[in-house]
Amino acid sequence: MSDPSILIVGLGNALRTDDGAGILAVRGLAEAGLPERVRVAEHRGDGLALLDLWAGFDRVILCDAVAADLEPGTVISIDLTDQDPPDAPTPSSTHGLGLKESVAMARALGQLPARCLLVGVVLAELALGAHPSPPVLAAIQHATETIRAAVTRLSKE
């Protein structure tokens, strides 16, 4: 049965500098408090596991670091309902699909939530380390606000 609530998922590895942007953004949201019926999750590793994580939710917001030919720290929004996520910054592992392949798999299996948005933070680096690069760190607040605005929008749908 479909749950009327909204799921927000921060994706990435917080120990790989800018790859932690999605995780840091959703942590910021959770700390600041969210409306009832909004759930926050963190996810790292196999993208296929997202299909289980969002099962039952028909409105999902994902936040992830993305590679794009834009200034590092730029926050972008992509409606995954009809668009694809950007290519992964590193070659994907066969033992854990990346976001793009996982969304394509969910679409093929009819398991993509009816509304699925991606808030992406354009990354600068993927070195080892707990701290994102300065432009990505500076963009976390913007990503958090973008997610909050998306929650408000989806709540009215």
Binding site: D46, L48, P91, S93, T94, H95, A104, M105, A108, L109
Partner: protein, 428 residues
């Protein structure tokens, strides 16, 4: 005379970074190299100076799909060194955790990595578009394996609940009983999987292999026994390095392992062929039903061996849960002993050998890790040479497809073996 070069610069649907290069001169195969270029990872050096108790958690990081194998080989090696033998309940819980990893790894490989090759699909996503019901079954099966790993290992990837001497926490009887329903469903899905893969079109290739696996009279090979082959090998794991040697070839960052100087095959096909009588009753009945009998020497049928093993581990998992009584303590205390510890366990892809030299303080002085993919690398290349020679008339794209399919017979994990694929065929 026409020279052809087939080059796959980056092999898809194998774990890690590798490439394949084939040079054909007219109707003659001139050169074939499976090039593993994933950077060296230095795990063996990283272990030096670390406490013997840290080996399971450090080595688990070598692989995201078979971390349990690394944990099992390292803890068995350390326990052998410390002279600790764990009790039967703890052994069975280790097997149950390993069963979870086999289910997860085999289901992923069968459905997402290998089946698309047989069915003419570029990837599992393409397969899912036409046959979502097949891929859904594979993912449902994988999920049960993941759940088992999360329950016993604390999390699905890189479990954190395994320690030298046992576990940090043993599951409660009710937690395990809750897995019985999903495992019973998984067993049914595993049987459907075996029937499905048995109907795939198999390329024609029969090879004369030396199969190697662990063997124990009481159980299907996983975490104890002697090393055996279909030739004359019958070896205590402590003597592994007297017969098995690794060598470095310039085109690969993975070492090549040889048995008395020759290639050998490890993994599901070796285990099913050599230990068929120890498969679970339902796995054996299924083998009979689909006409699979040892000794199978068509490497493409490894996908059937994998499916039979999934039936086995689902059935064994149910039996372990039925017999579970929580032990008084979750682990045995292991005090450091100076000396060498060895162990070999059966990772989903084949035997995984570990050796550690530890000092009186319990600090690791030396570590040696031989993963299944470096053991299969020589045999993969030999298969490819045979396959290419038989199929020289194929156009490059068909030949490349067949070669990639043949590589995936072994579910190679390049990340594990590096210490992989991009394919190039040159024809002249």
């Amino acid at each position: 005379m026409k020279t052809r070069t087939i080059k796959v610069d980056y092999l898809a649907r194998v774990e890690g970074e590798g490439a394949l290069q084939i040079k054909i001169d007219g109707d003659r195969l001139e050169e074939l190299h499976l090039r593993i270029f994933e950077p060296p990872r230095f795990f063996e050096a990283l272990l030096r100076g670390r406490a013997f108790t840290e080996a399971p958690d450090i080595t688990a990081r070598i692989c995201g799909i078979c971390p349990v194998a690394y944990q099992m080989s390292s803890i068995h090696a350390m326990e052998r060194l410390c002279g600790v033998a764990v009790d039967p309940i703890m052994r069975s819980m280790r097997r149950l955790l390993y069963c979870g990893e086999w289910i997860e790894s085999h289901a992923l490989h069968i459905y997402c990595l290998h089946a698309p090759d047989f069915l003419g699909y570029e990837s599992a996503v393409h397969l899912a578009k036409d046959h979502p019901e097949w891929v859904k079954r594979g993912l449902a099966l994988k999920k049960v394996g993941n759940s088992l790993m999360a329950l016993l290992g604390g999390r699905e990837i890189h479990p954190i609940n395994v320690r030298v001497g046992g576990f940090y926490r043993m599951p409660s009887a009710s937690e395990l009983r809750a897995m019985k329903g999903p495992l019973t469903e998984a067993l049914a899905m595993a049987e459907e999987t075996a029937l499905w893969v048995a109907g795939l079109p198999f390329p024609d290739l029969e090879r004369d292999y030396t199969f190697v696996c662990l063997s124990h009279p009481d159980e299907y090979p996983m975490n104890r026994g002697r090393l055996i082959s279909n030739r004359e090998l019958d070896l205590d794991v402590a003597d592994y390095e007297t017969r098995f040697r690794e060598e470095h070839l310039s085109h690969s960052t993975s070492l090549y392992s040889r048995l008395d100087g020759e290639h050998y095959l490890v993994g599901p096909l070796a285990r099913v062929n050599l230990c068929f009588d120890r498969l679970s009753p339902r796995a054996r009945r299924m083998a009979e039903k689909i006409g699979f009998a040892p000794t199978c020497t068509n490497p493409f049928k490894s996908i059937i061996a994998r499916a039979l093993e999934v039936i086995h581990v689902c059935e064994e998992s149910c039996a372990i849960i039925d017999g579970y009584v929580p032990p008084e303590a979750p682990y045995h205390v292991c005090n450091p002993v100076a000396g060498q510890g060895f162990a070999c366990t059966e990772a989903p892809r084949g035997i995984l050998y570990h050796r550690y030299a530890v000092d009186g303080e319990g600090l690791i002085q030396e570590a040696k890790i031989v993963p299944p993919t470096s053991q299969n690398q020589g045999v993969i290349e030999a298969d490819l040479r045979d396959l290419v020679r038989r199929n020289l008339a194929l156009p490059d794209d068909r030949l490349q497809w067949l070669c990639e399919q043949a590589i995936r017979n072994y579910d190679p994990c390049i990340s594990c073996s590096t210490h992989f694929l991009d394919m190039k065929v040159e024809r002249s």
